[in-house]
Amino acid sequence: MSSTKFILGLFDDPDDMMHGIDKLQKNSVPIYDVYTPMPIHGIEAKLGVKPSRLGYAAFMFGCLGGSTIFSIIYYTMVHDWPINIGGKNYFAVPDFIPITFEWTVLFTAFGMVATFLYATHLFPGRTPRVMDLRATDDMFVIAIDAKGNVPHDDITSLLKEAGAVEIKHNDRKYVSYE
C-alpha cells in the first residue's frame, strides 16, 4: 500500500487546469478541491459547488440593522423623552432616515463578513491548511484524495496529459503544518 495521501496536479495556466478538471471528471476521478491564486470563474459549476447564500445573510443583517436603530431612535425621540421643537412632530421620520440607512449598511457589512469568515473557518490565528505553497502565488492546484483513487499512475498520466507542469504525491495532507 502506497503512503500517498494526496495527489496534486500543479498547472501554471488556469485554462490547462480547467482542462485537467474535465479530464479527471471524464474518467470518474473525484476531485477533493482546487486551490488557485485568484478566483477562476466557471470552476464552481464544473465541481458542482452550490451558489453562495451569503446574499441572503447580508439581506437579513441589513434588515436587522435598520430595524434596530430605528427602534432605538423611536424609543428615545418619541417615547422616552420627546422634545418639543417648535411644535413639530416628535416622530420626524425624514430625520431618522440617514442613521437608519447607515446602520443598515453597517450591519450588512459586518454581519455578512462575519458569516463569511465563520462559514469558511477563517479567523486570526487559524493554521493555514495549505496543500502546496505555490497555490497562493502562481500555481493552480487540483487536489485528489489518493485513498481509493487507484491506480495512482493513471491519475498522474491524466494530469500530465492535461498539461500539468508538476505532479506531487504527498504523504501529508497539508504541507503548512509544522
Binding site: I40, V49, D80, V105, L106, V113, H121, P128
Partner: protein, 491 residues
C-alpha cells in the same frame, strides 16, 4: 474565465513582456520582502516628524483647551472643520475606485484599488483626529452615542446632522476597513506562503488561514460584490451628510440645497487628485510602471476633469442662485467671498478647482506625469481652500455687522493641519512596506485577457482586422512602459 479575450481596440491594463503570475507576485512584493530603500527611510522620517508635531499640537490642545486655536465668538469653526471635511473628501476616491468601479466592471481599478482603499482609511483616520481634537475633552467622546445616562436619560438628538455625521463617519470608516481587509486576505496569504520564521507566523495570523479553495473564492467574490453594492450608496451618503452639517443651518452661504451633490463631486475630485499624488510617486519608486500604466493615469485625469467641472458648475450655480433668490444676506455672502477680505482664498479656490482641471483636456498634458503630479497637488490645495471659503467666509460676516470678525490661525491650528499630513504619510508609508500595495489576485485575473503580451499574441496570430490593430498600436504610443520597437517588426 481566465481565457477571455478582450477586444484588441482596448488599451492594455498590464504592459511589459513575459509577465507571468510569479512575476506579478515578485514585482508587487518587492518592497514587502526586501529591506526598505533610502528614499523610503527619508520619507518615513519626515512623516514621523510630522506625525509627532500632530501629537504635540493635539496634546497642547487637550492640555490648555480649544482657546489655543484661533477661533473666536464669530468664527467658531475654522481650520478644524476645514481639515476634517478635506480629509473625508480625500477618502472618497478610494471607495469610488473599489466599489463604484467594481460595479461598473472597470477592470483598470484592479491595480489601483488596494492603495486607494488604504488611502481612504488613512484619510478617514486623519479626519477622525480632527473630530476628536475639536471635542476639547475627548475622554467624553462617548457623549455622542445614545447611551443610557443619569441625566434622565438625556439622549442624543437624532434630528441633528452632527449626530448623523457621527454615525456616517464611523460606519464609513469601519465598513471601508472591513472591505479593505477582506480584499487583503488572499494577498496576505501569498506573503505568508513565501515567508519563513517569525514573518511567516505574523502573516499567518493576519491571513486568517486563507487557502484559496474553490468555495472560499466563491464566497469571497460574493462578499466583494455585496460590499461594493452597499459601499456605493454609503460613500454618497457620507459626504451628503457632511454637507448637511452646513446645509441644514440658517447661515447665508451654507443654507443651500445644492450642497450634497456638490460636496460629493468635490470629494471625489480631491480624492482622485490625492490618488494621483501618491501613485505617480509610488509607481516610480516601487517600479510598478507595468501595472499602473499611462492608461490608469489618463483615466484618473479624466475623472478629475469630470468631477472638477461638476464642482465648477456648482460654484457658478451657487453664485447665480444667490442673485436669483433675491435674499440680500445670501447675496452679500457671495459678494463678500469674491471681493471681501478673504478674496485671496476665494480666488485661489476658483483658480485651483475650476481653471486648473480644465487644462487636462489637452491630451499631451494629461499624459505628462510631472504635469499630472503638480496638478494633483494644485487641486488638493484648491479643495482645502474650498472648505475654508465655505466655512470661514460665511461665518465671519453674517447677519449682525457688530459681530463681524476675522479669523487668524494660531501655531496650534497650523501644527495640527501639517501634523495630520504627517500622520497620513506615516500610515501610508508603513502600508507599502508591510502589505502588498497592488491587489495581486485581482491583477492576475487580467493577465490572460487584458495584458499587452496577450494582445500582442493575438496580433501575431494575425486574425484581426488590420485597422483595429493599427488603432491599438496608435494607442500604445502614449504608454511610457511599452517597448514600441517590438511592434514595428511584428507586422
Amino acid at each position: 474565465m481566465a481565457s477571455h479575450h478582450e477586444s484588441i481596440i482596448r488599451e492594455p491594463l498590464i504592459t511589459g513582456k513575459d509577465i507571468t503570475y510569479a512575476q506579478i507576485t515578485d514585482d508587487v512584493l518587492r518592497p514587502v520582502e526586501n529591506k526598505p530603500t533610502k528614499a523610503w527611510w527619508i520619507g518615513f522620517i519626515v512623516s514621523v516628524l510630522g506625525a509627532s508635531l500632530w501629537v504635540f499640537a493635539a496634546g497642547w490642545t487637550f492640555w490648555y483647551g480649544l482657546g489655543e486655536w484661533g477661533l473666536n465668538k464669530t468664527v467658531g469653526w475654522a481650520w478644524d472643520i476645514t481639515g476634517f471635511v478635506w480629509w473625508v473628501g480625500i477618502g472618497h476616491a478610494g471607495t469610488l475606485i473599489s466599489a463604484v468601479l467594481l460595479l461598473f466592471r472597470q477592470n483598470w481599478r484592479n491595480s489601483i484599488n488596494r492603495s486607494a482603499e488604504a488611502m481612504t482609511i488613512f484619510a478617514v483616520v486623519c479626519a477622525a483626529t480632527y473630530i476628536v481634537a475639536h471635542m476639547g475633552r475627548p475622554w467624553l467622546a462617548h457623549f455622542c452615542l445614545p447611551l443610557p445616562n443619569q441625566y434622565g436619560s438625556l439622549w442624543v438628538n437624532f434630528n441633528s446632522p452632527l449626530i448623523w455625521d457621527v454615525f456616517a463617519i464611523s460606519t464609513y470608516f469601519s465598513v471601508s476597513l472591513v472591505f479593505w481587509y477582506t480584499g487583503l486576505l488572499p494577498d496576505i496569504a501569498t506573503i505568508r506562503d513565501r515567508a519563513t520564521g517569525l514573518k511567516q507566523k505574523i502573516y499567518s495570523v493576519c491571513s486568517f488561514g486563507w487557502t484559496g479553495s474553490v468555495k472560499t473564492w466563491q464566497r469571497f467574490e460574493t462578499v466583494s460584490l455585496i460590499l461594493a453594492g452597499i459601499s456605493t450608496p454609503l460613500v454618497l451618503s457620507v459626504h451628503t451628510i457632511v454637507s448637511m452639517d452646513f446645509a441644514t443651518s440658517l447661515e447665508p452661504g451654507w443654507h443651500t440645497t445644492i450642497f450634497p451633490p456638490y460636496f460629493v463631486a468635490g470629494a471625489i475630485f480631491s480624492g482622485f487628485a490625492m490618488v494621483q499624488t501618491l501613485l505617480l510617486v509610488a509607481r516610480k519608486v516601487l517600479a510598478l510602471e507595468n501595472y499602473i500604466t499611462m492608461f490608469h493615469i489618463e483615466s484618473m485625469n479624466k475623472i478629475i476633469i469630470l468631477t472638477g467641472s461638476i464642482v465648477g458648475v456648482a460654484y457658478i450655480t451657487e453664485f447665480f442662485i444667490a442673485w436669483y433668490s433675491g435674499v440680500e444676506y445670501e447675496q452679500y455672502a457671495f459678494i463678500n467671498r469674491a471681493t471681501g477680505p478673504y478674496w485671496w482664498a476665494y480666488w485661489s479656490m476658483m483658480t485651483c478647482n475650476v481653471i486648473s482641471p480644465q487644462l487636462l483636456w489637452k491630451t499631451s498634458w494629461r499624459q505628462n506625469i510631472a504635469f499630472s503630479w503638480v496638478l494633483s497637488i494644485v487641486v488638493n490645495i484648491g479643495m482645502w481652500f474650498e472648505r475654508f471659503v465655505i466655512i470661514v467666509t460665511s461665518l465671519h460676516r453674517d447677519y449682525i455687522p457688530s459681530s463681524w470678525a476675522m479669523f487668524y490661525p494660531t501655531w496650534v491650528d497650523v501644527a495640527i493641519f501639517v501634523g495630520s499630513i504627517g500622520v497620513f504619510f506615516t500610515l501610508f508609508l508603513l502600508f507599502i512596506r508591510v502589505l502588498p500595495s497592488v491587489a495581486m489576485a485581482e491583477v492576475k485575473l487580467l493577465l490572460k485577457g487584458s495584458s499587452e503580451q496577450a494582445k500582442k499574441k493575438l496580433i501575431e496570430e494575425g486574425h484581426l482586422d488590420p485597422s483595429h490593430v493599427a488603432f491599438y498600436k496608435e494607442s500604445l504610443t502614449k504608454f511610457d512602459s511599452v517597448d514600441l520597437s517590438a511592434y514595428d517588426k511584428s507586422i
